[in-house]
Protein backbone atom coordinates (compact mmCIF):
# COMPACT_ATOMS: atom_id res chain seq x y z
CA UNK A 1 0.00 0.00 0.00
CA UNK A 2 1.73 3.14 -1.20
CA UNK A 3 -0.84 5.66 -0.04
CA UNK A 4 -3.28 5.32 2.75
CA UNK A 5 -6.07 6.58 0.60
CA UNK A 6 -4.76 5.18 -2.64
CA UNK A 7 -8.23 4.36 -3.96
CA UNK A 8 -8.81 8.09 -4.50
CA UNK A 9 -5.65 8.44 -6.55
CA UNK A 10 -6.25 5.32 -8.62
CA UNK A 11 -9.91 6.05 -9.28
CA UNK A 12 -9.15 9.65 -10.28
CA UNK A 13 -6.31 8.63 -12.59
CA UNK A 14 -8.42 5.89 -14.16
CA UNK A 15 -11.46 8.03 -14.73
CA UNK A 16 -9.63 11.15 -15.95
CA UNK A 17 -7.38 9.04 -18.15
CA UNK A 18 -10.25 7.13 -19.70
CA UNK A 19 -12.14 10.37 -20.31
CA UNK A 20 -9.08 11.85 -22.00
CA UNK A 21 -8.75 8.72 -24.14
CA UNK A 22 -12.39 8.87 -25.17
CA UNK A 23 -12.04 12.53 -26.11
CA UNK A 24 -8.88 11.84 -28.06
CA UNK A 25 -10.62 8.98 -29.85
CA UNK A 26 -13.63 11.15 -30.69
CA UNK A 27 -11.24 13.69 -32.14
CA UNK A 28 -10.16 11.13 -34.74
CA UNK A 29 -13.73 10.72 -35.99
CA UNK A 30 -14.79 13.12 -38.65
CA UNK A 31 -17.77 15.21 -37.63
CA UNK A 32 -19.39 17.77 -39.89
CA UNK A 33 -19.26 21.43 -38.94
CA UNK A 34 -23.05 21.60 -38.74
CA UNK A 35 -23.19 18.69 -36.38
CA UNK A 36 -20.58 20.38 -34.18
CA UNK A 37 -22.57 23.60 -33.97
CA UNK A 38 -25.73 21.63 -33.20
CA UNK A 39 -23.89 19.86 -30.38
CA UNK A 40 -22.74 23.26 -29.11
CA UNK A 41 -26.32 24.55 -29.11
CA UNK A 42 -27.58 21.52 -27.21
CA UNK A 43 -24.75 21.89 -24.67
CA UNK A 44 -25.57 25.56 -24.22
CA UNK A 45 -29.26 24.73 -23.72
CA UNK A 46 -28.52 22.14 -21.06
CA UNK A 47 -26.17 24.50 -19.23
CA UNK A 48 -28.75 27.28 -19.33
CA UNK A 49 -31.31 24.78 -18.07
CA UNK A 50 -29.06 24.04 -15.14
CA UNK A 51 -28.73 27.79 -14.47
CA UNK A 52 -32.48 28.40 -14.62
CA UNK A 53 -33.20 25.64 -12.12
CA UNK A 54 -30.16 26.42 -9.96
CA UNK A 55 -32.28 27.21 -6.93
CA UNK A 56 -33.94 23.79 -6.90
CA UNK A 57 -31.60 21.01 -5.77
CA UNK A 58 -31.22 18.13 -8.23
CA UNK A 59 -34.27 19.15 -10.27
CA UNK A 60 -32.47 19.86 -13.53
CA UNK A 61 -33.27 19.33 -17.22
CA UNK A 62 -29.63 18.47 -18.01
CA UNK A 63 -30.00 14.68 -18.23
CA UNK A 64 -33.23 14.99 -20.22
CA UNK A 65 -31.54 17.22 -22.81
CA UNK A 66 -28.55 14.86 -22.92
CA UNK A 67 -30.86 11.91 -23.55
CA UNK A 68 -32.72 13.86 -26.24
CA UNK A 69 -29.42 14.67 -27.94
CA UNK A 70 -28.39 11.04 -27.82
CA UNK A 71 -31.73 9.94 -29.24
CA UNK A 72 -31.85 12.45 -32.09
CA UNK A 73 -28.20 13.10 -32.90
CA UNK A 74 -26.48 9.86 -31.96
CA UNK A 75 -24.23 8.48 -29.28
CA UNK A 76 -21.18 10.61 -30.01
CA UNK A 77 -23.22 13.82 -29.75
CA UNK A 78 -24.88 12.52 -26.58
CA UNK A 79 -21.52 11.80 -24.99
CA UNK A 80 -20.10 15.19 -25.93
CA UNK A 81 -23.13 17.13 -24.74
CA UNK A 82 -23.28 15.23 -21.47
CA UNK A 83 -19.64 15.46 -20.55
CA UNK A 84 -19.09 19.01 -21.75
CA UNK A 85 -22.19 20.40 -20.08
CA UNK A 86 -21.09 18.85 -16.78
CA UNK A 87 -17.61 20.27 -17.28
CA UNK A 88 -18.66 23.78 -18.28
CA UNK A 89 -21.51 24.30 -15.85
CA UNK A 90 -19.22 23.27 -13.00
CA UNK A 91 -17.27 26.47 -13.58
CA UNK A 92 -20.27 28.14 -12.03
CA UNK A 93 -21.45 25.43 -9.64
CA UNK A 94 -18.02 24.49 -8.35
CA UNK A 95 -15.26 22.56 -9.99
CA UNK A 96 -13.71 19.74 -8.01
CA UNK A 97 -12.40 16.21 -8.11
CA UNK A 98 -15.98 15.11 -8.71
CA UNK A 99 -16.05 16.78 -12.14
CA UNK A 100 -14.60 13.79 -14.06
CA UNK A 101 -17.17 11.55 -12.39
CA UNK A 102 -20.06 13.80 -13.37
CA UNK A 103 -18.67 14.10 -16.88
CA UNK A 104 -18.41 10.34 -17.21
CA UNK A 105 -21.86 9.67 -15.78
CA UNK A 106 -23.64 12.17 -18.03
CA UNK A 107 -21.53 11.14 -21.01
CA UNK A 108 -22.44 7.49 -20.55
CA UNK A 109 -26.13 8.41 -20.26
CA UNK A 110 -25.97 10.28 -23.58
CA UNK A 111 -23.90 7.60 -25.28
CA UNK A 112 -26.24 4.77 -24.26
CA UNK A 113 -29.28 6.80 -25.28
CA UNK A 114 -27.72 7.13 -28.71
CA UNK A 115 -26.78 3.47 -28.94
CA UNK A 116 -30.19 2.17 -27.87
CA UNK A 117 -32.66 4.65 -29.30
CA UNK A 118 -31.19 6.52 -32.23
CA UNK A 119 -33.24 6.24 -35.38
CA UNK A 120 -33.73 8.07 -38.61
CA UNK A 121 -37.39 9.05 -38.51
CA UNK A 122 -38.44 11.63 -36.00
CA UNK A 123 -42.05 10.65 -35.45
CA UNK A 124 -42.23 9.50 -31.88
CA UNK A 125 -44.77 6.84 -31.02
CA UNK A 126 -46.28 6.64 -27.56
CA UNK A 127 -44.68 3.24 -26.94
CA UNK A 128 -41.24 4.56 -27.85
CA UNK A 129 -41.66 7.55 -25.62
CA UNK A 130 -42.66 5.34 -22.71
CA UNK A 131 -39.56 3.20 -23.21
CA UNK A 132 -37.28 6.22 -23.37
CA UNK A 133 -38.97 7.64 -20.25
CA UNK A 134 -38.11 4.41 -18.46
CA UNK A 135 -34.54 4.82 -19.69
CA UNK A 136 -34.56 8.38 -18.33
CA UNK A 137 -35.69 7.12 -14.92
CA UNK A 138 -33.02 4.41 -14.91
CA UNK A 139 -30.39 6.93 -15.93
CA UNK A 140 -31.34 9.13 -12.97
CA UNK A 141 -30.74 6.20 -10.62
CA UNK A 142 -27.50 5.37 -12.45
CA UNK A 143 -26.26 8.94 -12.15
CA UNK A 144 -26.93 9.01 -8.43
CA UNK A 145 -25.32 5.61 -7.78
CA UNK A 146 -22.28 6.52 -9.87
CA UNK A 147 -21.69 9.71 -7.92
CA UNK A 148 -22.28 7.89 -4.63
CA UNK A 149 -19.35 5.66 -5.53
CA UNK A 150 -17.27 8.78 -5.66
CA UNK A 151 -18.70 10.06 -2.35
CA UNK A 152 -17.74 6.77 -0.72
CA UNK A 153 -14.21 6.75 -2.11
CA UNK A 154 -13.72 10.41 -1.28
CA UNK A 155 -14.87 10.30 2.33
CA UNK A 156 -13.59 6.86 3.34
CA UNK A 157 -10.62 6.44 1.03
CA UNK A 158 -11.50 2.86 0.25
CA UNK A 159 -14.24 0.62 -1.02
CA UNK A 160 -16.51 -0.32 1.81
CA UNK A 161 -20.04 -1.61 1.98
CA UNK A 162 -21.51 0.34 4.90
CA UNK A 163 -19.98 3.57 3.60
CA UNK A 164 -21.57 3.04 0.21
CA UNK A 165 -24.90 2.18 1.79
CA UNK A 166 -24.70 5.33 3.90
CA UNK A 167 -23.96 7.47 0.85
CA UNK A 168 -26.78 5.86 -1.12
CA UNK A 169 -29.26 6.25 1.73
CA UNK A 170 -28.28 9.89 2.22
CA UNK A 171 -28.82 10.50 -1.47
CA UNK A 172 -32.24 8.84 -1.72
CA UNK A 173 -34.20 12.12 -1.92
CA UNK A 174 -31.79 13.34 -4.59
CA UNK A 175 -32.17 10.11 -6.54
CA UNK A 176 -35.93 10.46 -6.41
CA UNK A 177 -35.66 14.06 -7.62
CA UNK A 178 -33.32 13.01 -10.44
CA UNK A 179 -35.79 10.36 -11.58
CA UNK A 180 -38.78 12.70 -11.40
CA UNK A 181 -37.00 15.56 -13.14
CA UNK A 182 -35.53 13.34 -15.86
CA UNK A 183 -38.87 11.77 -16.73
CA UNK A 184 -40.90 14.95 -16.52
CA UNK A 185 -38.45 17.03 -18.52
CA UNK A 186 -38.12 14.28 -21.09
CA UNK A 187 -41.89 14.07 -21.58
CA UNK A 188 -42.15 17.85 -21.65
CA UNK A 189 -39.29 18.45 -24.07
CA UNK A 190 -39.47 15.41 -26.35
CA UNK A 191 -42.08 16.74 -28.78
CA UNK A 192 -40.74 20.29 -29.26
CA UNK A 193 -37.13 19.15 -29.55
CA UNK A 194 -37.92 16.17 -31.75
CA UNK A 195 -39.98 18.24 -34.17
CA UNK A 196 -37.39 20.97 -34.53
CA UNK A 197 -34.31 18.76 -34.55
CA UNK A 198 -35.96 16.51 -37.13
CA UNK A 199 -36.72 19.49 -39.29
CA UNK A 200 -33.16 20.80 -39.06
CA UNK A 201 -31.63 17.40 -39.72
CA UNK A 202 -33.72 16.74 -42.83
CA UNK A 203 -33.40 20.30 -44.08
CA UNK A 204 -29.63 20.55 -43.79
CA UNK A 205 -28.84 16.84 -44.32
CA UNK A 206 -26.85 16.40 -41.14
Amino acid sequence: MIFERYYILISLILIAGSLALVFARLDKRRTGVRRITLIAVMTALSIVGRFIFASLPAFKPVSAIVILTGVYLGGEAGFLVGSLSAFLSNFYFGQGPWTPFQMTALGIIGLLAGIFFQKRSFKSTVFRRIIISIYAAVSGVFYSLFLDTWTMIWTYGSLNGPGYLAAVLAAVPYTALYVVSNVSFFILLDIPFGKRLGRIITKYKI
Partner: protein, 291 residues
Protein backbone atom coordinates in the same frame (compact mmCIF):
# COMPACT_ATOMS: atom_id res chain seq x y z
CA UNK B 1 2.33 35.60 -10.64
CA UNK B 2 0.04 32.62 -10.86
CA UNK B 3 -2.08 34.03 -13.66
CA UNK B 4 1.03 34.36 -15.84
CA UNK B 5 1.91 30.68 -15.57
CA UNK B 6 1.13 28.19 -18.28
CA UNK B 7 -2.25 26.45 -17.72
CA UNK B 8 -0.61 23.04 -17.51
CA UNK B 9 1.64 24.30 -14.73
CA UNK B 10 -1.29 25.79 -12.84
CA UNK B 11 -3.19 22.53 -13.15
CA UNK B 12 -0.31 20.33 -12.00
CA UNK B 13 0.64 22.66 -9.14
CA UNK B 14 -2.87 22.96 -7.73
CA UNK B 15 -3.56 19.27 -8.08
CA UNK B 16 -0.33 18.31 -6.32
CA UNK B 17 -0.79 20.73 -3.47
CA UNK B 18 -4.47 20.00 -2.88
CA UNK B 19 -4.58 16.28 -3.52
CA UNK B 20 -1.45 15.08 -1.70
CA UNK B 21 -2.90 15.61 1.79
CA UNK B 22 -6.12 13.99 0.60
CA UNK B 23 -4.25 10.74 0.07
CA UNK B 24 -3.12 10.64 3.66
CA UNK B 25 -5.22 9.98 6.71
CA UNK B 26 -3.59 12.54 8.94
CA UNK B 27 -5.55 15.42 10.50
CA UNK B 28 -2.44 17.58 10.74
CA UNK B 29 -1.78 17.43 7.00
CA UNK B 30 -5.46 18.10 6.31
CA UNK B 31 -5.35 21.13 8.58
CA UNK B 32 -2.24 22.41 6.79
CA UNK B 33 -4.04 21.96 3.48
CA UNK B 34 -7.02 23.94 4.80
CA UNK B 35 -4.82 26.77 6.10
CA UNK B 36 -2.70 27.10 2.97
CA UNK B 37 -5.85 26.88 0.86
CA UNK B 38 -7.38 29.79 2.73
CA UNK B 39 -4.14 31.77 2.40
CA UNK B 40 -4.32 31.14 -1.34
CA UNK B 41 -7.84 32.62 -1.35
CA UNK B 42 -6.42 35.95 -0.15
CA UNK B 43 -4.31 36.31 -3.28
CA UNK B 44 -7.32 37.00 -5.47
CA UNK B 45 -10.21 38.04 -3.28
CA UNK B 46 -10.78 40.18 -0.22
CA UNK B 47 -11.83 39.36 3.31
CA UNK B 48 -15.45 40.37 2.75
CA UNK B 49 -15.88 37.88 -0.04
CA UNK B 50 -14.27 35.10 1.97
CA UNK B 51 -16.43 35.79 5.02
CA UNK B 52 -19.47 35.30 2.82
CA UNK B 53 -18.34 31.76 2.07
CA UNK B 54 -17.59 30.84 5.69
CA UNK B 55 -21.13 29.82 6.81
CA UNK B 56 -21.45 27.50 3.84
CA UNK B 57 -18.18 25.79 4.66
CA UNK B 58 -19.06 25.45 8.34
CA UNK B 59 -22.37 23.82 7.44
CA UNK B 60 -20.60 21.55 4.96
CA UNK B 61 -18.04 20.61 7.61
CA UNK B 62 -20.68 19.83 10.24
CA UNK B 63 -22.78 17.71 7.88
CA UNK B 64 -19.84 15.57 6.78
CA UNK B 65 -18.38 15.14 10.24
CA UNK B 66 -21.71 14.25 11.88
CA UNK B 67 -22.58 11.91 9.05
CA UNK B 68 -19.95 9.31 9.89
CA UNK B 69 -20.79 8.33 13.51
CA UNK B 70 -24.41 7.58 12.60
CA UNK B 71 -23.27 4.88 10.20
CA UNK B 72 -20.07 3.68 11.86
CA UNK B 73 -20.21 2.09 15.26
CA UNK B 74 -16.80 0.52 15.78
CA UNK B 75 -15.06 3.02 18.05
CA UNK B 76 -14.19 2.06 21.63
CA UNK B 77 -15.08 5.29 23.41
CA UNK B 78 -18.86 5.42 23.42
CA UNK B 79 -20.35 8.86 23.89
CA UNK B 80 -24.02 7.88 23.83
CA UNK B 81 -26.43 5.50 22.13
CA UNK B 82 -28.65 6.38 19.18
CA UNK B 83 -31.48 3.89 18.72
CA UNK B 84 -29.44 1.19 20.42
CA UNK B 85 -26.35 1.83 18.35
CA UNK B 86 -23.09 3.25 19.57
CA UNK B 87 -22.15 6.84 18.81
CA UNK B 88 -18.43 6.73 19.34
CA UNK B 89 -15.84 9.47 19.73
CA UNK B 90 -13.54 7.75 17.23
CA UNK B 91 -16.16 7.73 14.50
CA UNK B 92 -16.93 11.38 15.19
CA UNK B 93 -13.27 12.35 14.94
CA UNK B 94 -12.82 10.29 11.80
CA UNK B 95 -15.77 12.14 10.28
CA UNK B 96 -14.30 15.47 11.35
CA UNK B 97 -10.98 14.51 9.76
CA UNK B 98 -12.69 13.61 6.48
CA UNK B 99 -14.62 16.86 6.62
CA UNK B 100 -11.41 18.80 7.19
CA UNK B 101 -9.86 17.17 4.15
CA UNK B 102 -12.87 17.76 1.91
CA UNK B 103 -13.13 21.41 3.00
CA UNK B 104 -9.42 22.03 2.44
CA UNK B 105 -9.49 20.55 -1.04
CA UNK B 106 -12.67 22.53 -1.73
CA UNK B 107 -10.87 25.77 -0.86
CA UNK B 108 -7.98 24.91 -3.18
CA UNK B 109 -10.37 24.12 -5.99
CA UNK B 110 -12.12 27.47 -5.60
CA UNK B 111 -8.77 29.15 -6.20
CA UNK B 112 -8.05 26.78 -9.08
CA UNK B 113 -11.28 27.65 -10.84
CA UNK B 114 -10.47 31.32 -10.38
CA UNK B 115 -7.03 31.02 -11.94
CA UNK B 116 -8.04 28.64 -14.72
CA UNK B 117 -9.83 31.16 -16.90
CA UNK B 118 -11.76 30.00 -19.94
CA UNK B 119 -8.95 30.63 -22.41
CA UNK B 120 -6.58 28.53 -20.32
CA UNK B 121 -9.10 25.72 -20.08
CA UNK B 122 -9.56 25.85 -23.84
CA UNK B 123 -5.83 25.60 -24.43
CA UNK B 124 -5.53 22.64 -22.12
CA UNK B 125 -8.57 20.92 -23.57
CA UNK B 126 -7.52 21.67 -27.12
CA UNK B 127 -4.39 19.60 -26.76
CA UNK B 128 -6.49 16.54 -25.89
CA UNK B 129 -9.35 17.10 -28.29
CA UNK B 130 -9.64 19.94 -30.78
CA UNK B 131 -13.28 19.07 -31.42
CA UNK B 132 -14.25 19.43 -27.78
CA UNK B 133 -12.33 22.70 -27.57
CA UNK B 134 -14.25 24.04 -30.58
CA UNK B 135 -17.53 23.08 -28.93
CA UNK B 136 -16.48 24.72 -25.68
CA UNK B 137 -15.58 28.00 -27.38
CA UNK B 138 -18.86 27.91 -29.32
CA UNK B 139 -20.80 27.36 -26.09
CA UNK B 140 -19.00 30.27 -24.44
CA UNK B 141 -20.18 32.50 -27.25
CA UNK B 142 -23.65 31.00 -27.52
CA UNK B 143 -24.78 31.38 -23.92
CA UNK B 144 -24.56 35.20 -23.60
CA UNK B 145 -25.71 35.69 -27.18
CA UNK B 146 -28.77 33.52 -26.80
CA UNK B 147 -29.74 34.92 -23.42
CA UNK B 148 -29.69 38.42 -24.95
CA UNK B 149 -31.84 37.14 -27.79
CA UNK B 150 -34.40 35.55 -25.49
CA UNK B 151 -34.64 38.75 -23.44
CA UNK B 152 -35.33 40.87 -26.49
CA UNK B 153 -37.81 38.25 -27.74
CA UNK B 154 -39.71 38.51 -24.46
CA UNK B 155 -39.76 42.31 -24.74
CA UNK B 156 -41.17 42.10 -28.25
CA UNK B 157 -43.91 39.77 -27.12
CA UNK B 158 -44.82 42.14 -24.31
CA UNK B 159 -44.84 45.09 -26.68
CA UNK B 160 -47.17 43.27 -29.03
CA UNK B 161 -49.46 42.41 -26.16
CA UNK B 162 -48.95 38.68 -26.58
CA UNK B 163 -47.54 38.05 -23.13
CA UNK B 164 -50.90 37.47 -21.47
CA UNK B 165 -52.68 39.42 -18.79
CA UNK B 166 -50.22 38.62 -16.02
CA UNK B 167 -51.99 35.59 -14.60
CA UNK B 168 -49.80 32.58 -13.89
CA UNK B 169 -51.29 30.27 -16.53
CA UNK B 170 -51.05 32.90 -19.25
CA UNK B 171 -47.45 33.70 -18.33
CA UNK B 172 -46.50 30.03 -18.48
CA UNK B 173 -48.18 29.71 -21.86
CA UNK B 174 -46.39 32.80 -23.18
CA UNK B 175 -43.03 31.57 -21.86
CA UNK B 176 -43.62 28.23 -23.54
CA UNK B 177 -44.30 29.99 -26.79
CA UNK B 178 -41.16 32.07 -26.40
CA UNK B 179 -39.13 28.95 -25.69
CA UNK B 180 -40.51 27.20 -28.77
CA UNK B 181 -39.72 30.15 -31.01
CA UNK B 182 -36.31 30.54 -29.46
CA UNK B 183 -35.54 26.85 -30.00
CA UNK B 184 -36.36 27.02 -33.70
CA UNK B 185 -34.32 30.19 -34.09
CA UNK B 186 -31.31 28.85 -32.16
CA UNK B 187 -31.11 25.64 -34.19
CA UNK B 188 -31.53 27.58 -37.42
CA UNK B 189 -28.94 30.12 -36.29
CA UNK B 190 -26.41 27.39 -35.51
CA UNK B 191 -26.58 26.37 -39.16
CA UNK B 192 -25.64 29.91 -40.15
CA UNK B 193 -22.74 29.73 -37.71
CA UNK B 194 -21.64 26.45 -39.24
CA UNK B 195 -21.72 27.88 -42.75
CA UNK B 196 -19.66 30.91 -41.78
CA UNK B 197 -17.20 28.66 -39.97
CA UNK B 198 -16.75 26.65 -43.17
CA UNK B 199 -16.39 29.84 -45.19
CA UNK B 200 -13.62 31.00 -42.89
CA UNK B 201 -11.69 27.81 -43.25
CA UNK B 202 -12.73 25.55 -40.39
CA UNK B 203 -11.56 22.01 -41.08
CA UNK B 204 -8.89 22.96 -43.56
CA UNK B 205 -6.12 20.41 -43.20
CA UNK B 206 -2.97 22.54 -43.01
CA UNK B 207 -3.38 25.22 -40.43
CA UNK B 208 -1.76 26.53 -37.31
CA UNK B 209 -3.42 27.81 -34.20
CA UNK B 210 -2.41 30.85 -32.21
CA UNK B 211 -1.69 30.27 -28.55
CA UNK B 212 -1.43 33.10 -26.13
CA UNK B 213 0.27 31.22 -23.28
CA UNK B 214 3.96 30.50 -23.48
CA UNK B 215 5.89 27.88 -21.61
CA UNK B 216 8.58 29.73 -19.68
CA UNK B 217 11.50 28.37 -17.70
CA UNK B 218 9.69 29.24 -14.48
CA UNK B 219 6.93 26.82 -15.50
CA UNK B 220 9.45 24.02 -15.82
CA UNK B 221 10.79 24.87 -12.37
CA UNK B 222 7.32 24.77 -10.78
CA UNK B 223 6.43 21.50 -12.51
CA UNK B 224 9.72 19.89 -11.46
CA UNK B 225 9.19 21.06 -7.88
CA UNK B 226 5.65 19.66 -7.93
CA UNK B 227 6.89 16.27 -9.03
CA UNK B 228 9.68 16.28 -6.45
CA UNK B 229 7.20 17.18 -3.71
CA UNK B 230 4.80 14.48 -4.90
CA UNK B 231 7.54 11.86 -4.93
CA UNK B 232 8.93 12.90 -1.55
CA UNK B 233 5.60 13.13 0.26
CA UNK B 234 4.44 9.97 -1.49
CA UNK B 235 7.44 8.10 -0.12
CA UNK B 236 6.94 9.48 3.37
CA UNK B 237 3.24 8.60 3.28
CA UNK B 238 4.06 5.16 1.93
CA UNK B 239 6.43 4.52 4.82
CA UNK B 240 3.51 5.15 7.15
CA UNK B 241 4.85 8.22 8.91
CA UNK B 242 1.47 9.88 8.73
CA UNK B 243 -0.78 6.90 9.22
CA UNK B 244 -3.39 7.54 11.88
CA UNK B 245 -5.40 4.64 13.17
CA UNK B 246 -8.96 5.46 14.18
CA UNK B 247 -10.53 2.15 15.06
CA UNK B 248 -10.85 0.79 17.67
CA UNK B 249 -8.89 3.56 19.43
CA UNK B 250 -7.11 6.57 18.02
CA UNK B 251 -3.39 6.13 17.53
CA UNK B 252 -1.65 9.22 16.24
CA UNK B 253 1.73 8.62 14.63
CA UNK B 254 4.80 9.81 16.51
CA UNK B 255 6.27 13.05 15.17
CA UNK B 256 9.65 12.21 13.74
CA UNK B 257 12.28 14.29 11.98
CA UNK B 258 11.14 13.10 8.59
CA UNK B 259 7.50 13.94 9.18
CA UNK B 260 8.37 17.42 10.45
CA UNK B 261 10.59 18.00 7.42
CA UNK B 262 7.87 16.89 5.06
CA UNK B 263 5.30 19.11 6.74
CA UNK B 264 7.67 22.08 6.43
CA UNK B 265 8.34 21.25 2.79
CA UNK B 266 4.62 21.05 2.15
CA UNK B 267 3.94 24.42 3.79
CA UNK B 268 6.78 26.12 1.90
CA UNK B 269 5.77 24.66 -1.42
CA UNK B 270 2.09 25.44 -1.06
CA UNK B 271 2.77 29.05 -0.10
CA UNK B 272 5.64 29.75 -2.48
CA UNK B 273 3.51 31.16 -5.28
CA UNK B 274 1.54 33.43 -2.95
CA UNK B 275 4.72 35.09 -1.68
CA UNK B 276 4.95 37.43 -4.64
CA UNK B 277 1.43 38.71 -4.01
CA UNK B 278 1.96 39.34 -0.32
CA UNK B 279 5.31 41.09 -0.81
CA UNK B 280 3.70 43.38 -3.34
CA UNK B 281 0.77 44.06 -1.03
CA UNK B 282 3.19 44.79 1.83
CA UNK B 283 5.18 47.34 -0.15
CA UNK B 284 2.00 48.86 -1.54
CA UNK B 285 0.79 49.34 2.02
CA UNK B 286 3.99 51.18 2.98
CA UNK B 287 3.90 53.39 -0.09
CA UNK B 288 0.38 54.47 0.82
CA UNK B 289 1.54 55.40 4.32
CA UNK B 290 4.50 57.43 3.13
CA UNK B 291 2.62 59.52 0.61
Amino acid sequence: MIERLHPLTIFIYFLTVSMLPAFSRNPLLHLLCLITGSVMLFTWTDVKNILKKVPFFILFFLIISLFNPFFYHNGDTVLFYVAGRRFSLEALLFGADSALMVTGVGLWFISLSHYMTSDKVLLLFGTISAKAATIISLVMRIIPHYSLYIKSYRKHQKMLGLYGDGSFLETVRAEGKIFAGFLTWSLEHSMTTADSMTARGYGVKKRKSFRICRFRSFDILVICLSFILAAFLGLVLGKGYFYTEYYPTIKMPQQSVLSIISEAVYIIFSLILTLNHFIKAYYGFFKDKQS
